[in-house]
């Protein structure tokens, strides 16, 4: 394979929330939910995003506006081109229909888990956000259990609080999660405690995307190629998970 961006035309843009937009483009490769692509804006930068939609040969990325790159991306119009390469990494492993599963998305982590939710039938699906206006995909997934930190909609509290309650009632055998690492770490602890399988998607600073630069390290695991999705056993051997990460320069910071 040759790791170089291919230009694609943005064929549609959807405003999801005031700070989140979904960009649609043609995409024909194989894609496992949880994998990511690198999105290139020439002369600007190139950063990782998961596919949040796949519909025939149209895929979408759902992007939260944060810094320079995502601001530039948000300014793109229908017809503009972006470069994409990938998909990269190891996605979520789908469960048998008979396995009772729960999917948890926190914040923009929803983007990563949406395609999984499309494919994993009969799962409980929990979404958490700080407030009602930040909730995503409410029309797409009608059965979602919603949590907001401020109680502006649904359960008042975190996804972890709600998950803890639900675990008491349901016999989940497998939990999938994507969101802030603090949330993921709590879910990992919860799953360890209750002996539930889990798979979570971990974020680190990505440069190459294919396992050579070492930038995305988490305890010797390369997020980009060994992850981004890890299971409970993997995470047990990743002491950095939930604790520290290395930045763009390689400096170690506490989470």
């Amino acid at each position: 394979m040759i790791e170089q961006p291919q230009m694609v035309k943005i064929c549609n843009i959807k405003d999801e929330t005031p700070n989140v937009k979904t960009f649609f483009f043609e995409f024909t490769g194989h894609y496992d939910p949880g994998q990511f692509i690198m999105v290139w804006i020439p002369l600007n930068d190139e950063k990782p995003f998961t596919l949040s939609y796949i519909n025939g040969n149209i895929a979408g990325i759902t992007v939260l506006r944060r810094g320079d790159f995502t601001k530039t991306l948000h300014a793109k119009k229908i017809g503009d081109q972006i470069g994409i390469r990938g998909p990269y990494g190891k996605g979520y492993g789908l469960s048998e229909k008979s396995v009772t599963t729960c999917i948890v998305g926190g914040g923009i982590g929803m983007a990563s888990i949406a395609c999984l939710a499309d494919r994993q039938e009969n799962a409980t699906f929990i979404q958490g956000a700080r407030t009602v206006t930040e909730l995503l995909f409410r029309h797409r997934f009608k059965e979602m259990k919603l949590c907001t930190d401020d109680g502006s909609l649904g359960y008042k509290g975190t996804t972890v609080d709600l998950l803890r309650e639900l675990i008491g009632k349901h016999n989940y055998q497998k939990i999938y999660a994507c969101g802030p690492e603090k949330m993921l770490h709590k879910i990992f602890e919860l799953c360890s405690e209750h002996h539930i399988d889990c798979e979570v998607s971990v974020e680190r600073y990505i440069k190459c995307g294919f396992g050579i630069c070492g930038q995305c390290d988490c305890s010797g695991q390369r997020i980009c190629i060994d992850g981004p999705v890890f299971n409970k056993e993997d995470l047990r051997n990743m002491p950095d998970f939930g604790k520290t990460a290395i930045t763009k320069s390689g400096s170690r910071v506490s989470l």
């Binding site: 040759i2 170089q4 230009m7 190459c208 294919f210 630069c213 010797g220 390689g250 400096s251």
Partner: protein
């Protein structure tokens, strides 16, 4: 077969550092954290090199920083690194890595090199590698004139005075007379030459967007494209100097490694090979070397070092 292979020795003595085999993780590949170094050692590397460290923290160039094409890889990472103080805390307990660890240090002036070398001198590194040859980072290597015989001599002598560790000087293939640089390094007290760094720089333009793909526009070329150039450099340097040569450039198979060793390399570095064959490229290359040695009636890798010169 396995019985016979067991009798074949790959171990090499490089400047009094014992390597269980001649494969070395090249600098800039996966060498960002202690945990990754350990993982590479677990995957069979005979020695591992950290990503180059400068005095101050650096974010490096914008992405894309690494791309591949038909014949190899281009990179312009731009020496992102956390700086020497952070590196000192990252790289501790190096005895437990399972393979000798080589520090790679960079600077924009001679004093910087000395400062970084001193900053890492108590960390348990087995050697210090000094690249004077990066083709794509302003202020460093070729872009700040460090690749001349004079600059090489000055920087290496200065570091030599301040450390007792073996010093490996990493040089560029982009120079008309590579042996004069190798000799300048040897004269300045270098313990070994690492040949070579990436070549070029090169550029790849995405024709649909009409823009260079790399964030820095140009980047060093590595992998298959570089191998014959690297083999020739090692061949020439081997003839010109007495200290050992670590051959780097395009090695991803046992046959490539043997070719480089026959050209004169005492050990061989692997970078792009981590991409082409996976993180276990080290154990794969070692198994392939052993197989070839056995089939060709050798039982010690050291017997073929420089044999292409006979």
């Amino acid at each position: 077969m396995n019985g016979k292979m067991a009798g074949i020795s790959l171990s090499v003595n490089l400047c009094n550092i014992r390597l269980s085999n001649p494969t070395v993780l090249a600098s800039g590949i996966l060498g960002t954290t202690r945990a990754l170094l350990k993982r590479v050692a677990d995957n069979g590397a005979g020695a591992v090199t950290i990503k180059s460290v400068s005095k101050e923290q650096r974010e490096g160039h914008k992405n894309p920083t690494v791309i591949t094409y038909e014949a190899g890889m281009l990179n312009a990472v731009g020496y992102s690194n956390p700086g020497v103080d952070a590196a000192r805390s990252e790289f501790y307990n190096l005895e437990d890595i399972g393979a000798p660890v080589i520090a790679s240090i960079i600077g924009t002036c001679t004093d910087d090199f000395v400062e970084v070398a001193e900053g890492l001198s108590e960390s348990g590194f087995s050697a210090i590698e000094i690249p004077l040859s990066c083709p794509h980072t302003p202020g460093f290597g070729l872009l700040s004139g460090q690749g001349t015989p004079e600059a090489t001599y000055e920087i290496i002598s200065a570091v030599r005075r301040k450390t007792n560790l073996p010093i490996f000087v990493k040089i560029s293939p982009n120079v008309p007379e590579i042996t004069t640089i190798a000799k300048a390094a040897e004269d300045a007290g270098a313990s070994a030459i690492t040949a070579v760094n990436s070549m070029g720089p090169g550029m790849i333009i995405n024709i649909e967007s009409k823009k260079p793909v790399l964030g820095f526009k140009v980047g060093g070329v590595t992998g298959d494209a570089l191998r014959p150039i690297a083999v020739r450099c090692v061949y020439d340097i081997y003839k010109a100097i007495k200290i050992p040569v670590i051959g780097v450039g395009g090695i991803s198979t046992g046959r490539h490694a043997i070719e480089m060793i026959m050209a004169g390399a005492a050990a061989i570095g692997i970078g792009t090979g981590v991409y082409t064959r996976g993180i276990d490229v080290f154990s794969k290359v070692c198994a392939e070397m052993k197989q070839w040695l056995m089939e060709n009636g050798y039982n010690n890798i050291n017997d073929i070092v420089g044999i292409a010169h006979d």
